[in-house]
């Protein structure tokens, strides 16, 4: 395990989580754009928990764990990061988890779209009265020119 945070459903906590996740992604040598993608996804996922699973009620528990994935096989050769979010809020209904059409110019409905666009794997489940969200981002192979920089 790379990082484990036990936090509460307070919007003010999100900036702290973003900082911790950003650092964790940097430690695993994610490229800057991928680090931003991971931070964005975790932030949006937590915001969804606060707003929807807990209906905006503060002080309720959320657990976040980050794991380093070892490399080895084909597209995952470089390894990556797995993030698990667990909350005890109302069940997530998979049918309701649809991003809104992007051609509609209206507020809201973008968070899930951001997550799906930013991560390689996104999986919702419900176990023992808890919502589980699993997100994975694989490390992109470093271009040859970039990998030789700074050596």
């Amino acid at each position: 395990m790379l990082l484990k945070l036990e936090l509460q459903s307070n919007p003010e906590a999100l900036c702290l989580v973003r900082a911790a996740v950003e650092r964790a992604a940097e430690v695993l040598h994610f490229q800057d754009s991928d680090t931003r993608a991971i931070v964005r996804s975790v932030d949006e996922a937590l915001a969804n928990v606060v707003r929807h699973a807990y209906a905006g009620k503060p002080g309720l528990p959320i657990e976040m764990s980050c794991y380093k994935l070892p490399g080895g096989e084909q597209k995952t050769a470089q390894g990556g990061m797995e993030i698990l979010l667990v909350d005890k809020g109302v069940p997530v209904r998979p049918a309701a988890l649809k991003s809104r059409p992007l051609d509609e110019v209206r507020p809201g409905g973008l968070g899930l779209h951001f997550i799906r666009e930013s991560m390689d794997e996104v999986e919702f489940s419900r176990k023992k009265g808890k919502n589980l969200l699993r997100m994975v981002k694989y490390l992109s192979p470093i271009p040859q020119a970039a990998s030789s920089e700074g050596e």
Partner: protein, 110 residues
Amino acid sequence: MQIVARLATGGTILDITGDIDLAHSPAMRKALLQEIKEKKTPKVFLNLEKVRYIDSSGIASLVEGLKASRDQGSRLILYGLSKTVREVMELSRLQKIFEIHDSEAQALAS
């Protein structure tokens, strides 16, 4: 997050500093709608040069501001978007919906 309003040619500049996330987007939404709906400012410039992060709730507030400005017949003009903010705009596919400029000088001249 901090919001400071200052007068500019034909309108008001809102200088935003910090992160526009779930905790702070309501404050930005309020400031934006106040300028557009209550003060009926003809041009509202949103200076995002010092915004490090924006989430979907921040984008939703911007969309609400844009709709309000269209209803009022006024203009909402954004400038100084960081790479992070531009990425989120592109992900939302909203970069062509908003009036966006690189610098304050360009925004004021528009």
